[in-house]
């Protein structure tokens, strides 16, 4: 794992994610950022969940990822361009860690405050 790949400051290395069925799992944003590499999420969604019009149909996962229920259902049963990830491939714990990582990504600056985006 290369540290330079991720320069964002994580708000919290451990976060508690409330799952749809009401159970609470201790999820780790730090583990989550490793998991997005291990399981290939970065390939289409980027290292910060920013997505791409070319790979994620423009969908942005972070900041503000979709609600857990929606997120986990999509990952498990996707029949879109994104392949489904079963528990055999991606455990519930890993998925929760990934979600915690996405939640930890701070909001970007308003584009109006970035001179290069106002040329």
């Amino acid at each position: 794992m290369r540290h330079y790949m991720f320069r964002i400051t994580l708000a919290a290395f451990a976060a508690s994610v409330v799952l749809g069925h009401g159970a609470a799992l201790a999820a780790s944003a730090e583990k989550g950022r490793a998991a997005i590499v291990k399981f290939g999420c970065w390939q289409c969604h980027g290292f910060q969940g920013q997505g791409s019009v070319a790979t994620s149909n423009g969908k942005v996962l972070a900041p503000d990822p979709p609600p857990w229920e929606q997120f986990s259902a999509l990952v498990r049963t996707s029949n879109t361009g994104m392949p489904p990830y079963t528990e055999k491939v991606l455990s519930n714990d890993d998925l929760a860690d990934i979600y915690a990582y996405l939640q930890s990504i701070p909001k970007p600056a308003d584009y109006k405050s970035i001179p290069l985006l106002n040329q």
Partner: protein, 662 residues
């Protein structure tokens, strides 16, 4: 001149070079006798002769150094290849990028000596794919074709992928392949390995025309014909097999004198007037017409015409970016999804009409085939103007899936637009004008909203490392925005940020992509296009160069440095074959397996890392100014600014940037 002979016992032994050369000249003359006698001479002399420490000089060297005048001309009269150069010169072909080869040695010699290495000027390439790729990029800026020479079987096979790209991208390139046809006379060994009955067969499926001239006059006719066919829309590459014997034989004095046919450009095919009128009626009465353009604007006039048609109808335009068809700054510019509300769609030179109005999802359903569906409303009327309909071939599948079209015109879109515009003008009823105006107002609003959304999305991961592709593109734009810039390649997919964020409104600011999606196009095409931009008067060329693309034939960097072609190449170095990386990941998930990474970040076989390629050092070794690897986004702007100054001074420069995947 005297010198000591190193390594001899008698270190005082001295050789007078002139006497040495004279002696060799005598030996050379002796060598002209029959082989058996020569062997006898050599054998007899071996006991007495001191073996020279260097290879004997050639007859030309001896003549130059002794002042002796030797008549070395083996072929009396004007060489046939001189006539070939005369023919080529009538067509104003400015450059000839090529990798040298024995099978075209005669015409090579004529080009540089008889022809003075001008019109065309020989550009030394290190790979035939680079040569054709350069010609490809050059045409899209200059609007004029280049020719290349390739070596029989092997050179043409090297060139083939680039020829296919040119074919799919409708770009003319004149390819001449040296080929020694006469089995009784050609040298045995390598030249025979490199000859074939019909080298043109290698590329026949993706060239417009080919020929094998058997006389000099035949060459004259065929070369001009080849040029004309290549340059009549739809443009495309053409191939000529050029016999080595024909190149070397003299122009014969008997018979009718050789002539050079005059080239007169042909006009492009235009849409049938009745079909144009039918299309105009549909467009004029549509509630929501949408224009889709791929390779429609062959010239800047094509872009002007498309703006005129769009404004006349207040119709949104989806630019599929095969060329710079429509200004990105125009409020009628629309995303691909705009087809969903259309009741009439007109496609102009679309390479894939089916995928414009349908979707395919590679989700493993239907026994792995995936899901197909429509993007458009039922009863949407489809119009097409495409010149490609007149040159479709059978084998290679660049014609894509079949789409039923309501009004289909086999004609060149740009050539048809003037009559279509006039027909639309006469078909628009007065009572439609208010509705058309309102359509424009809605388009303005949608355009402004989309612009804000796009910029906000670009801000995400702005400070990330590896550097986001949005940041890469906007740092680059910030450094060139005040110049007359031309984005000559954007390979490897940077989420289309330049087309979404750069205010492109000139035809030369975007020249499309490879056509056939054969990786390896970006580097040579950007060099070729930069050459054309240089000659236009110092227009600034910039490319977004991907890592996988550059590694196909990086020698083109050397060609750029050697021939002083200024180009700023900013690398989108995501350290992988990213498209394939995602494919393997997808298949792994479909099959319920964890993709094996093998210590890399992507599935085994798809990463370009461990070791990481130092592209900046690669470029430096070939004469480029270079910097990198840039991983910190704060360092990117200053590095690009430095590189811009280098390129402005006339040198090529490369900035190696580690980027997010897309």
């Amino acid at each position: 001149m005297e010198r000591k002979v190193p390594g001899t016992k008698d270190s005082d032994t001295k050789i007078d070079r002139r006497k040495f050369l004279t002696g060799v000249a005598v030996a050379g003359a002796a060598g002209a006798v029959a082989p058996q006698a020569a062997n006898a001479t050599m054998a007899a002399g071996t006991a007495f002769a001191r073996v020279p420490s260097a290879l004997p000089p050639t007859a030309q060297t001896i003549a130059a150094e002794t002042g002796a005048v030797l008549d070395t001309a083996r072929v009396p009269g004007k060489p046939g290849s001189d006539y070939m150069v005369d023919v080529i010169k009538t067509l104003d072909i400015k450059y000839l990028p090529a990798n040298c080869a024995s099978s075209y040695r005669a015409i090579h010699e004529s080009l540089i000596n008889y022809g003075g290495n001008k019109m065309p000027e020989f550009l030394t390439c290190t790979h035939e794919e680079s040569a054709v790729g350069m010609a490809h990029g050059y045409f899209k800026i200059a609007g004029k074709p280049l020719m290349t020479l390739v070596h029989g079987t092997v050179g043409l096979q090297h060139a083939a992928m680039a020829v296919y790209n040119a074919w799919c991208d409708r770009v003319p390139v004149i390819i001449v392949g040296g080929n020694d046809l006469d089995a009784a006379h050609r040298p045995p060994g390598v030249p025979t390995f490199h000859s074939a009955q019909d080298i043109n067969a290698l590329v026949r499926d993706f060239t417009k025309w080919d020929d094998t001239p058997v006389s000099l006059q035949h060459f004259g006719q065929s070369f001009v014909r080849a040029y004309k066919i290549a340059m009549t829309p739809p443009y495309g590459p053409v191939m000529m097999s050029l016999d080595a014997g024909l190149q070397q034989e003299p122009v014969k004095a008997h018979g009718a004198p050789l002539y050079i046919p005059r080239y007169v450009p042909g006009s492009p095919p235009a849409g049938d007037p009745n079909a144009v009128r039918e299309a105009a009626m549909l467009l004029a009465s549509a509630q929501n017409p949408v224009i889709v353009a791929d390779r429609a604007a062959r010239t800047k006039n094509g872009m002007r015409l498309l703006v005129q048609l769009a404004e006349l109808l207040q119709a949104r335009v989806i630019d599929q970016q095969g060329r710079m068809n429509f200004p990105k700054t125009h409020y009628l510019n629309a995303p691909a999804a705009a087809v969903s509300n259309a009741d009439v769609i007109i496609g102009l030179e679309l390479s894939d009409y089916w995928a414009t109005v349908n979707y395919f999802t590679d989700n493993g359903e239907n026994d792995g085939i995936g899901v197909n569906g429509t993007r458009i409303k039922p009863n949407t009327k489809l119009i097409s103007i495409s010149s490609v309909d007149v040159i479709t071939k059978a084998n290679y599948q660049d014609f894509q899936r079949f789409q039923t079209i309501d009004v289909s015109m086999a004609g060149d879109a740009e050539a048809t637009l003037p009559s279509l515009i006039e027909a639309v003008k006469s078909e628009i009823q007065n009572d439609r004008k208010i509705a058309i105006e309102k359509r424009g107002e809605a388009a303005r609003k949608a355009f402004k909203e989309a612009e804000v959304r796009t910029r906000q999305v670009a801000a995400i991961a702005w400070d990330a490392s590896p550097i986001s592709t949005a940041r890469l593109c906007m740092e680059l734009y910030g450094a060139i925005k005040d110049l007359d810039w031309s984005l000559v390649a954007s390979e490897g997919n940077v989420s289309n940020w330049p087309n979404r964020l750069w205010p492109m409104d000139k035809h030369h600011q975007w020249i499309g992509r490879s056509g056939g999606y054969g990786v390896g196009y970006g580097a040579p095409a950007s060099v070729g296009a930069a050459l054309a931009n240089r000659d236009i008067g110092g227009r600034f060329s910039v490319s977004i160069q991907s890592d996988g693309d550059l590694m196909y034939a990086p020698g083109v960097l050397w060609t750029a440095a050697k021939h002083k072609i200024p180009l700023l190449s900013v690398m989108h170095n995501n350290r992988g074959y990213h498209q394939e990386l995602m494919h393997v990941q997808r298949l792994s998930s479909f099959r319920n397996r964890v993709a094996s990474l093998g210590g890399d970040m992507g599935p085994i076989g798809t990463s370009i890392m461990n070791p990481d390629i130092e592209y900046h050092k690669l470029a430096e070794s070939m004469g480029w100014w270079a910097k990198g690897p840039i991983k910190d986004p704060a360092m990117l702007g200053p590095a690009i600014k430095e590189a811009v100054e280098v390129v402005k001074s006339g040198q090529p420069a490369l900035v190696n940037v580690w980027t997010q995947p897309r």
